[in-house]
Amino acid sequence: MTTDELRAHAERHDQAPVHHKGPGPALSGWLDPRGRTLGGRSFALHRLTGLALVLYLYIHLGVLSMLLVGKSAWGSFLGTVTATGFLVLDVVLIFGLLFHGLNGIRVALVGSGIGVRHHRTMFWAATVVGTCVLIYAALHVLGAL
């Protein structure tokens, strides 16, 4: 066992308040960052961003229904969502998409047996790529570019 693996093994026996209600960790278990390894924390954030994106999917479909109402309804909607507060929410959405997408690629690769030993490196590489894309996207959405 490497030092990292030993530390991870020890962390797993920490006193995180996980209350089992089913075969996997309960919701309260994922949300508690104590005693989690990098993989555990990214798993929790992956699920949280996933749930937020599912919620957004339905909000998005609801909002797009305004197109059925007509040009004026869509025009007034655009007037509201181009306010800075809404554009900041767009940036938060892009963060969620980037994290979920890039971490999802890592999970799919590791789950398929590709790069299992380098999953931490992949995580940090994805973090660097994601941060660069997020900064560019934020500047673009907020009209600074």
Partner: protein
């Protein structure tokens, strides 16, 4: 024969029918298939969601990069973009439903409840795709 149809007997019969109809299926095959679909739709989404976001937010000039009513109609009226948007709708719904299934199955152990969750997600997913397609088709017709 009807006297033998106790709930336990019915359960055994149903399991036997299931095994006979899917003799190649091993325990956990459904979860493995769900994982493959989740990963596959996820990889497809990386491409389709990127195309969707770039086309909707990064091509149009102006704050927020959002399209006007006429620009949206013109976008959807393009047959290639229409097909890409339909593919995106399918992929995102499949991925979302399988993701929800994974979360909910982790919280529930009872097989009957899990089957109900699966059925509910099938219905929700089908309704979502139907509504999304109806929306896209209506907008394409209006263009």
């Amino acid at each position: 024969m009807s006297a033998l149809q106790t709930p336990e007997r019915k359960l055994i019969d149903r399991e036997l029918v299931g095994l006979r109809s899917r003799p190649h299926q091993y325990p956990g095959a459904r979860s493995a298939r769900a994982w493959r679909w989740t990963a596959g739709s996820g990889i497809a989404l990386v491409v389709l969601a990127t195309a969707h976001i770039v086309a909707q937010h990064f091509v149009v000039h102006g704050t927020g990069g959002l399209r006007t009513y006429q620009q949206v109609l013109d976008f959807v009226a393009n047959p290639v973009l229409f097909v890409i948007e339909c593919g995106f709708l399918f992929a995102v719904t499949i991925h979302a439903m399988l993701g929800l299934r994974s979360v909910l199955h982790d919280l529930v152990a009872r097989p009957r409840t899990r089957r109900r969750i699966d059925k509910t997600l099938w219905v929700v997913g089908t309704l979502t795709v139907t509504y999304g397609l109806a929306l896209l088709i209506t907008l394409a017709i209006r263009a």
